[in-house]
Every structure is written in structure tokens, then in C-alpha cells.
């Protein structure tokens, strides 16, 4: 079982959340090229190491948040609520 620290609810079973995948900044729709849109929509880094990703606390507080997960060790750190710059308490 993967324990995901929701910034609101604290550590919760990953089955209570929905995985939303890698987080990437959305390009400016007024200036982005087709290649930048394609990269944003379809291309993933898939690193072996730390990855910033989005989760949705679907059974709990119904909040989207970001977190860093180590794809090799499974460690999780720095859960962030939208709009915050520093990690919340886990």
C-alpha cells in the first residue's frame, strides 16, 4: 500500500486518491507552438528518480494537489496545495 500524504487529510491509502500523472506547466495558448502543445499533452519524462506529479484526493477532501514521488524508491515528499509555494504538513 502506498501512503500518500494529502496536504489536507494527511497520509491516506493511495486507493483513496486518483493519480493524475506528471505535472507540467501549461504553455500560454496565445504563444505556444504546435510542438509545445504536443509536448505538453502527450510527452512524459518518465524518469527514474524524483518526479513532480498531480493527485486528486477523490475520496477525502476532493482537492487536487502536487507532490514529489521517487519513482524508484516510492518515497513521497512536499505535498503542495494549488497556489502555495511551500510544502504542507504531511
Amino acid at each position: 500500500m502506498l501512503l500518500v500524504p494529502c496536504p489536507n487529510c494527511g497520509p491516506r491509502n493511495a486507493a483513496d486518491l486518483t493519480y493524475r500523472g506528471e505535472s507540467h506547466a501549461r504553455p500560454d495558448p496565445n504563444t505556444a507552438t504546435r510542438e509545445e502543445w504536443r509536448t505538453y499533452l502527450y510527452l512524459r519524462d518518465n524518469p527514474s528518480g524524483w518526479l513532480r506529479e498531480s493527485w486528486y484526493c477523490s475520496s477525502g477532501c476532493r482537492t487536487h494537489f502536487q507532490i514529489e514521488r521517487h519513482t524508484f524508491t516510492g518515497e513521497l515528499r512536499e505535498p503542495l496545495l494549488p497556489g502555495s509555494k511551500t510544502g504542507g504538513e504531511s
Binding site: M1, N8, C9, R12, N13, A15, D16, S58, S59, G60, C61, R62, T63
Partner: protein, 160 residues
Amino acid sequence: MADLTLTNLTPTPKTTIRAAADTAAAAELGLTFGSSERRDGDLVVRIRPDEWLVIGSTATVDALDLSGFASRIDTTHSRLLFRLTGDLAAKVMEKVCSLDFADHMTPNGACAGASVAKTTCDIVRDDVDRVPSYLVLCDTSFRDYLRGAIEDAMTEFVGA
């Protein structure tokens, strides 16, 4: 030793209030996320950062100032309400839900949204005469399934 009981309290009036942090309703309802309190016989539950449940009557809700970004929905008939009571109630809940029901993690008054037997539920600990008791709320369409799942979990502890 209090035996395990599962009762269906669905007809109890229930209201969901959603209110932005800067509204009068949010200030009046108060509480910290994850806690609940009895007020004039109603149970007021802050089940999400921007959402409260009021269980018991509509008196508390009728008195609310719902100006601004705030709304109320009568969920009496759309949400079922089960009460699981007994000294081993936490053990039963742990069979069907991944929350930690130890007293220090889920004390009397605590609440959380969580999946119970894979259905998305709201859970409130609301002890009765110092006997552990949990309210479970869920969409009414899951009534028979959820009752069956909890009763199945209870069978292990009957006579224990």
C-alpha cells in the same frame, strides 16, 4: 460489553452546505476541517475544507446567512446514513476502510471522507454513551451493497 449494531438512520434530515472561506456561512459553521460538534441537537460536521454536513434537523441551517458563494442542498434522501455502534465498531470499520480508527487518530467527533468497501463515503465518529459509534454516509443507491459489506465485516466479531 456493548454488542455491535448497525442501524439505518437515512430518514434523519441531512443538509450539505458548501461555502467559500470568506462567507458568513463558513464563519458561522466554523470548526476545523475533520471535526464535528453537537449544536442544539444537530450534529455539525466539517467534512471537507469547504463543505459541512448538518445532521438532525434543519434548524441550524435555516438560521444560516447563505449570502455570497454559499449553497445548501437537502441530502436527506440522496444520502444514506448508517450508524455502526459497539465496543468493536472500530475493528469492523478497519475491515472495510483504510482509515486508521485508533482513538488517537480518529477520536470521538473526528470525520473524514474515505472509501468504505470501495464506495466513497463520509464517516463521522459520534460515540453513544461512551460506546464507539460511527456514522457512515453514502449515495443511497449503494444502500444494499454497503449494508451487506458492513454486515459481512461484523460477522467476524459477533460473539467476540
